[in-house]
Each structure stands twice: as C-alpha cells, then as structure tokens.
C-alpha cells in the first residue's frame, strides 16, 4: 500500500476549528441595554473537548492510512462527534452562563462558534471526498449537529428564548414570505416565458427585451421598492376597483385583438405584450387578495371585507396602497423577470436547427414543434432560470416588511430597531436555510424533468472520474 498524502482540506478545517478557540465562543448580556461580554470556550465546562476532537481529526487527515475502510468509518464518526460537540457546547455554554443570571439575560453565539461552523463545513467537504463510508460524513455531521437543538439542548440560548416569544407569528411570517416570493415568481413566469419566446423568435427584439430586463435588474432592490411606492400610492388613492379592472380588461381585449389581426408583425407583438400586461394587472389583484387573506387568517390582522368587492370601492380597500404587499409584489416580479426571460431565450436558442427542420419535415405544426421538439430541450435552462428567480425573490422579499408587507424580514427589522441580535438571527438564518432548500428542490426537479437522453449525468460522471483519478491512484 502506497502512502497517501495528508488531506489539505480536512487539515484546513481542523486548523480553522482550533483557531476559532481564540475567539469568544458566546456573548453574554445582562439585559438588552448593556454591552455584551465575550466568553472563550476554554474557560467553560467541558470546553477542552472540542480542541481534542479537532486535533484527533487533524491527526487522521495527516496520517497515511486513510485508504483503509476502518479509517473512513473513524473519520465519519469522529466528524459527527465533532459536529455534535460544536452544537452541544454552544447549548452547554448557554446553560452554564444562565445558571446564575436573570431571565432577562441573553447568551448569543459569537465569532468562535461561527468560525467553528465554517470549519465543520470545510472539514466535512474534505471528508466527503474520501472513499468509503466517509462519503456520508456530511449528512452524518448535519444530523449530529441538528440533533442537539432538536433535543432541546439549546433552550438556554437567546435564540431559543426569542423564538419562544414569537413562536406564534414565526411560521405565519415564513408562510407570507413564501407566498410573496412564489406569487411574484408565478407573475414573472406568465410575463417572462412569452417574452423569452418572442426574443428567441425575433432577432431584432432580443436585444431590446434582454436589455430592458437587465436594466431593471441593475436598479437596487430598495430603490426599486421606493420607486414603485408613489405609483401605488396614487393608484390606491385615485382609482376604483371598477376602473382598474376596466383598464386591465380593456388592455387584455385590445391586445388580444391586435395579436389576432397582425400575428407576428410588430403591431401584433405589441398587442401580445399589451394583453400580457393586462393579465398581469389582473393577476396582481388576485395575488394581493390571496396574500391579504393569508395575512388575515394567520396573523389576525385586517381581514378581507366584502366592501372591497364593490366596483366603486377605492383600490386601497383591496390592499393596493403605497405601503403594503402591492409594491412588494410588483418589485419582486420585476426582479424575477430577468432570469426567466434570459433562460427561456438561451434555452430556445440552444435547440439545434436540424432538429426543428426535422420536426417540420415530419409535418408538425408550429405549436407542435414548440411543444414536442423545442420545449424538452429548453426545459432544463428554464428550470435553472426558475431556480435563480426563486432564490432571488425569496432573498429580496427580506426587505418587504420595510414597506409594510409581511415576511421573515419583520423579525430582522424588529431586531435591528430594538437592538436584539438574536431576533435578527431568527429572521436571517431561516431565510438562508430556506433559500438553500428551495434552490436544491428546484434544481432536483429540473433534473427530473429533463428527458433521460438529455441528462448531463453520464458526462458529469465521466468528468468526476477523471478529476478523481489522482486520488484513486494514491489510494490503491
């Protein structure tokens, strides 16, 4: 058996883990008004455990016998124990500090803990590239880390105490956050897919369409929220439901008529756009009604009153005002537009012309070619656009509470205003976690929706094998 080299990535993880011990592990505050005091891990009970674990993991990464199946097991188990150690020592530190403190005191994770989490990620990434059982160390470590809070051992942490204070509104706000970003995504799809199709079909349009979408994307999100506010403020004050629906419906009808009359000519395309915008305006109303209803049911705020349904009611009764979900929804839709349009365009452009020619030769109509030949090939690209758009809107919805809409940003805003860092974390951490989850979910869905013959898996596997070949050689 030849000597394997030390694994530099796992070593880096262990070194980061040891370096983290020099930073304060937790921050202790008597109450909200005083400044915190940092406590290093080594001064806390059982604090020596973590450096011991990191040293053992480092030694394993340095050693030369890692091709052994038993070493792989040892690495995975040791890593899982270290993960549980980091997580457990955070809860333990909180419990020991809270023993003699008042209920107003708060213990928050500090720099040392956060650096340890990064160290765990790095070490876990390195270990999962080892052969054998070590491949599962990432999953094992995640489970071990999560087991500690799930078993309730973080109960003395400020995070858990703040959660207990807002437990009733946490899940509704998460639901509103999701509802807002998913509705925006739906609106962006309804406008973006046809726009992408039009851009792919008409060379002269593509520059304009992609340029406008890119331009809108460049405007900073807060500024965009600010710029759409006056529009909705004026709409809510001056327009009635009847006039709004009338204009939107009129645009839809006129647009459809133009589209039918002129088809692919410029007037027809403009008509199509007009019709789409009419549909958007109507769907925006529907989305607002949905979000308003959810808000009423979950948070018990203003519920939807039947007066809003009267055609002469001002739009503000429907929830269209300067402040609220309406400007948030429109701004998020505008943001989600670019990834959807660009990816639809790129996806349709990636269809080989020979394929569409063959389909035409088979006697397929334009619609059939689109559905059966082009759509399956463009779909992976479109799904990637949907993934990007969803992550984008979910992230930007964080600032929706600034303009009076709901969402997890509500806790961030309250935490910032009241100087409660734990509350800020309680808003920001779930946003990051759910964004990662959604991204993974849509990515997986995209893979499933790709026809088997088009999946890049075979090619990717081949690439992985070649990339891993030096490893394979050193191991054997």
């Amino acid at each position: 058996m030849s000597r394997a080299r030390p694994d530099p990535i796992v070593l880096l993880g262990a070194a980061l883990g040891l370096a983290a011990l020099a930073l304060p592990w937790v921050n202790f505050r008597e109450n909200r008004l005083v400044l915190g005091e940092g406590f290093p891990l080594l001064g806390l009970p059982a604090g020596w455990l973590l450096p011991a674990l990191w040293l053992a993991l480092g030694a394993l990464a340095w050693s030369s016998w890692r091709s052994d199946a038993r070493t792989a097991w040892l690495g995975a188990v040791l890593f899982a124990v270290t993960c549980a150690g980091v997580s457990g020592l955070l809860g333990g530190a909180a419990s020991s500090l809270m023993l003699e403190a008042t209920p107003l005191a708060r213990v928050s994770p500090a720099g040392g803990f956060w650096l340890s989490v990064l160290a765990l990620y790095v070490a876990g990434f390195g270990l999962s590239r080892w052969p054998g059982a070590a491949r599962w160390s990432g999953l094992l470590g995640l489970l071990a880390f999560a087991a500690v809070p799930l078993l309730g051992w973080w109960q003395d942490l400020g995070l858990a105490q703040e959660y207990a204070n807002i437990a009733g509104t946490f899940w509704p706000q998460l639901g509103l956050h999701l509802a807002l970003s998913l509705t925006a995504l739906l609106l962006a799809l309804i406008l973006g897919l046809p726009l992408g199709l039009a851009a792919a079909r008409h060379e002269r349009l593509s520059g304009t369409v992609l340029g406008v979408a890119g331009f809108l994307q460049t405007v900073p999100s807060v500024a965009l929220f600010g710029l759409v506010l006056p529009v909705f403020s004026a709409l809510g004050r001056d327009a009635t439901l009847g006039s709004y629906v009338g204009w939107a419906g009129g645009a839809l009808l006129l647009g459809t008529a133009l589209w039918r009359l002129f088809g692919q000519k410029i007037a027809g395309l403009l008509g199509g756009l007009l019709a789409l915008l009419g549909v958007q305006a109507l769907l925006l109303l529907g989305g607002l009604a949905l979000i308003g209803m959810l808000e009423g049911v979950w948070l018990g705020g203003r519920s939807f009153s039947p007066e809003a349904l009267s055609l002469s009611a001002p739009l503000s009764a429907w929830g269209i005002r300067g402040i609220g979900a309406a400007p948030a929804l429109l701004a998020l839709t505008i943001y989600a537009l670019l990834p959807v349009v660009t990816n639809t365009f790129v996806g349709l452009r990636s269809v080989p012309p020979a394929l569409t020619d063959a389909a035409r030769g088979l006697g397929m109509t334009g619609g059939q070619i689109l559905r059966r030949a082009e759509w399956p090939i463009a779909l992976p690209f479109i799904m990637e656009g949907i993934r990007a758009a969803l992550v984008l809107t979910f992230g930007i919805a964080t600032i929706a509470p600034l303009i009076g809409a709901g969402g997890l940003g509500f806790f961030i805003q309250r935490g910032v205003e009241g100087n409660v860092p734990d509350l800020v974390l309680l808003g920001a951490l779930p946003i990051v976690l759910v964004a990662l989850l959604l991204s993974g979910l849509v990515g997986w869905l995209g893979q499933r929706l790709t026809p088997p013959g088009l999946r890049p898996e075979a090619a990717a596997q081949g690439a992985e094998l070649t990339e891993a070949s030096p490893e394979v050689r050193s191991v054997s």
Binding site: P8, I9, L12, S108, P109, A110, G111, W114, V122, F125, G126, R129, F215, T218, V219, P220, S221, V222, A223, L224, F225, G226, L227, L229, P230, S233, G322, I323, V391, L392, F394, G395, I396, T398, I399, L402, I403, I412, Q413, V416, P421, D422, V424, L425, G427, A428, L429, I431, V432, A435, L436, S439
Partner: protein, 246 residues
C-alpha cells in the same frame, strides 16, 4: 471618433450629470416640495445628498478594493500548483455561497461583528468575493491545455505563462465578475444604514419609516443612477481592455 470613444464620452457626461444632480440640494428641496406639498421635510436634513453619496461611494470603494485583491488573488492561487488542492473547496464555497441571499448575509453579519461600518464592509466583501473568485477561476481554467503545454514547450516560465497567456484569456470573465460584484455591492450597501452606516440608503429608510415619499425618492433615484452608471462604466472598461471580445 470610434464607438468606444463615443461611449466613454457619454459615460463621462453621465457621471458629470450625476454629480451635478447630487450636489443640487436646493433643486431637490424645491422639486420635492412642489411634488409632495403635504410633506413637511421634502429633503433629508441631517446630511446633504452630496455627503450621503460620498459615504455610499466610500463604502463601495473600500469593499470593491478588498474584493478585487482577495478574489482575484484567491482565484489565481487555487489554479496554481501550490493551491490546487483547495480548488474543489473554493468551487464549492463560491457556488453554494451565491445561493445565500445577499441581504440576509448583511444581517447575519450584524450579530457577528456588531453595528457599524466594519461589519457592513465585512459582510459586503464576503458576499461580493463569490462572483469575482468564481469568474477568475472559470476564466483561468478556460485556457486550453494544449496551448499551455505549447507555451511551456517554448520555454515560458510560470509567471510568463500567467501574464502573457492566462490573464488575457481570463480577463473578460474576471471583468464580468467584478461588474456583477460592483452592482451587487452598490445595491446591498443601500441597506447598510440598517446595520449602522451611512450612504444613500439613509433617506430611503428614514422615508419608509416616516411614510415620506419625497425622502424615499431622494435616496432611490441617485442610488438607481449610481448602479446603472457603475454597470455602464464596467461595460465600457471591458470593451476598452478586451477589444477582442465580440
């Protein structure tokens, strides 16, 4: 004049117009006062718009300097023999990290570093590093293996290969990454006032809190223009530095 010259001249005019606009405090007060007569404070009064703009530019400038130095350095190092072992890690971190919403990252840094400019710069830098590092790595890796081998065969040293061969090939990707990072930083820095710094976000956030549309517009219009000008400047720079890219 060439097309590039026209573009550069327009850009210079755009920047001049921008700086004139943010220096015209009186004009803002008069226009906003006329547009929103019911508002008692049509302009932000604690700082002039000029000061706020320079705070924003300062925050963006410090962040981008750090980002370019660290990001390009990291990208070059992981594609050399010395750092090659860390390439998979860097690739993984930059891909996964970009799924993190930038706004959430800004607020995650708050409990970590505390209120103030340091925390804001740290968070902005950390996030903007991702596109720059990623595009540097991708750009440097896009050099064809046989071409590199040929250069080695010609007797070029590692440094010569980097400067004469890899940098020109990677430059368009690196510049595009820097452009993405710049636009992102200008946008996210707008929220930095919430974590205790200044900038053009200050009147926006104050206006949102007080339901004052005039204040919101006073911040939103300049920051939108700044982002667009930053984007255009980088695009012009790309065209000037890499004229071979179609």
């Amino acid at each position: 004049m060439s097309r590039l010259g026209v573009q550069a001249a327009l850009l210079a005019a755009g920047w001049a117009a921008f700086f004139w606009l943010v220096s015209a405090q009186e004009l803002w007060a008069r226009v906003m006062g006329a547009l929103f007569p019911q508002v008692s404070t049509p302009v932000y009064e604690r700082n002039t718009l000029w000061e706020l703009t320079w705070q924003h530019l300062g925050l963006t400038g410090v962040t981008m300097t750090l980002v370019v130095l660290i990001g390009v350095g990291l990208g070059v190092w992981t594609t050399r023999a010395q750092g090659h072992a860390f390439l998979p890690l860097v690739n993984n971190l930059t891909t996964v990290g970009q799924t993190f919403p930038p706004i959430a990252v800004l607020f995650l840094a708050l409990p970590l570093v505390g209120f103030g400019a340091t925390g804001a710069v740290a968070a902005l830098t950390l996030y903007a590093l991702l596109p720059v590092t990623r595009s540097t790595v991708l750009g440097l890796q896009s050099v064809d293996r046989p071409v590199l081998d040929a250069a080695r065969g010609l007797g070029l040293s590692a440094a010569q290969r980097l400067w004469r061969l890899e940098v020109p090939v990677a430059l368009p990707a690196v510049l595009a990454g820097i452009r993405t990072a710049l636009v992102l930083t200008i946008a996210t820095a707008t929220l930095a006032p919430m974590v205790g710094t200044g900038g053009l976000g200050v009147p926006i956030i104050a206006g949102l809190g007080a339901d004052n549309l005039a204040l919101i517009l006073q911040g939103a219009i300049p920051v939108a223009l700044l982002a667009l000008l930053g984007d255009l400047t980088m695009r012009t720079l790309e065209r000037w530095l890499t004229p071979w890219v179609p």
